[in-house]
Symmetry: C2
Subunit: 226 residues, 2 copies
């Protein structure tokens, strides 16, 4: 094992050569994330106010898409393409996030191929699609519900893979129960609950539009779209 | 290592206690699968003929959904819940399938948690959804394109996880290049190409319906479904 600090993660025999501990505290990391997220949300709230046709629910959902899209692209994108983040010797924020989060799930530091795969798909495909969803809602594009449903299903599939593989591996990747519940369970649960709610909403909207077209054939040619 | 035959899989040091080799030949296994699939397709083709409103494309796609749904439920469902299939001492067909397929990807015999997870999601969630898609098309339900898109995205996500994790692990799970190309690549490629085609078709159909409703507000209340 190369020279380095002892890592805090479980299991204890996980080898992380040249590991460098966190520089920032948990509170610093969370406050930075919260501040950035609130700024993004406020910006999108202001932007969405320029479209008077949008409902309040639409505007709130746009804020969610901006928040989750930026999280996917910036935070998770950094992880997916930074195999040696735990060796980072600066207090670079994104490396700090993953050094901290690995206390809840050491598969991140260990570079578990499934974690890297799911994070890669999330960052590269779902992240940009989330931002496209913000614009699709603002501009009332005909695919606005389709793209929302698609991203929600991707997020839910990712969560399923994340939780089921941990279960099949017998867990044991958290430093202790606090990190297990706060990071492994807590930090991920919004991405199970919110995509479910939005998926149901978009599913219903699509069904309503399809049913409306079926009731009034004059609304559009249903031959191609049957 | 428990008593048993030597397994044929790669890597050679993979431990499979009490392994029992295939009873059926490759040709037997493929002919059985082909025969069962053709029967299912013919049945659905006949069933779909009772709905004169359906286009030929709809009917062909219904046959695909029946074929892939039964494959997910029966073949992949057996795998997901049979951790010891490679010890099967009879010529039970479903165990034979996976003993044979493992020559193309030994992660199946090795019970790789990611493989088990993806196969479990495919069998339990996507399989029944495929069969529901057959009925949704036949009965022209307003969610017929939504469910098709949802299943296609699930199948594509599963394929991405399957191929990317193999790549990150450095491959080396196939007995030789023939099994790599025939089983690992060949047997899986239909589930990358066909879901892509159907997803695009359903995406367009949903957009067409949504656009039609937007053009003629009388076709349905767009307030809730906005």
């Amino acid at each position: 094992m190369a020279a380095g600090y002892e890592h805090p993660y479980a299991p204890r025999d996980l080898e992380l050569p040249a590991f460098v501990p966190n520089f920032l505290t948990t509170v610093d990391i969370l406050i930075t994330y919260a501040t950035g997220s609130i700024l993004a949300v406020l910006l999108v709230w202001a932007f969405s106010g320029r479209y008077p046709k949008l409902s309040k629910t639409d505007r709130i959902i746009m804020c969610w898409w901006a928040f989750t899209g930026l999280t996917h692209i910036i935070i998770e994108g950094y992880y997916a393409f930074s195999p040696r983040f735990y060796q980072n010797k600066t207090s670079f924020y994104l490396a700090e996030v993953w050094k901290e989060y690995s206390k809840g799930d050491s598969r991140y530091a260990a570079r578990d191929p499934t974690i890297v795969t799911v994070e890669g798909i999330t960052a590269v495909l779902e992240g940009p699609a989330c931002l496209l969803a913000v614009l699709a809602i603002a501009w009332q594009r005909p695919y606005r519900h389709t793209i929302q449903l698609a991203v929600c299903l991707g997020q839910l599939y990712g969560c399923l893979v994340y939780f089921i593989t941990a279960h099949l591996l017998g867990h044991g990747f958290s430093v202790n129960a606090v990190y297990f519940w706060a990071y492994f369970v807590g930090a991920n649960s919004p991405w199970t609950v919110i995509p479910t709610l939005i998926a149901v909403r978009s599913w219903r909207a699509i069904s309503a539009a399809t049913a409306a077209v079926a009731r009034s054939p004059g609304a559009g040619s249903s031959k191609k779209a049957r």
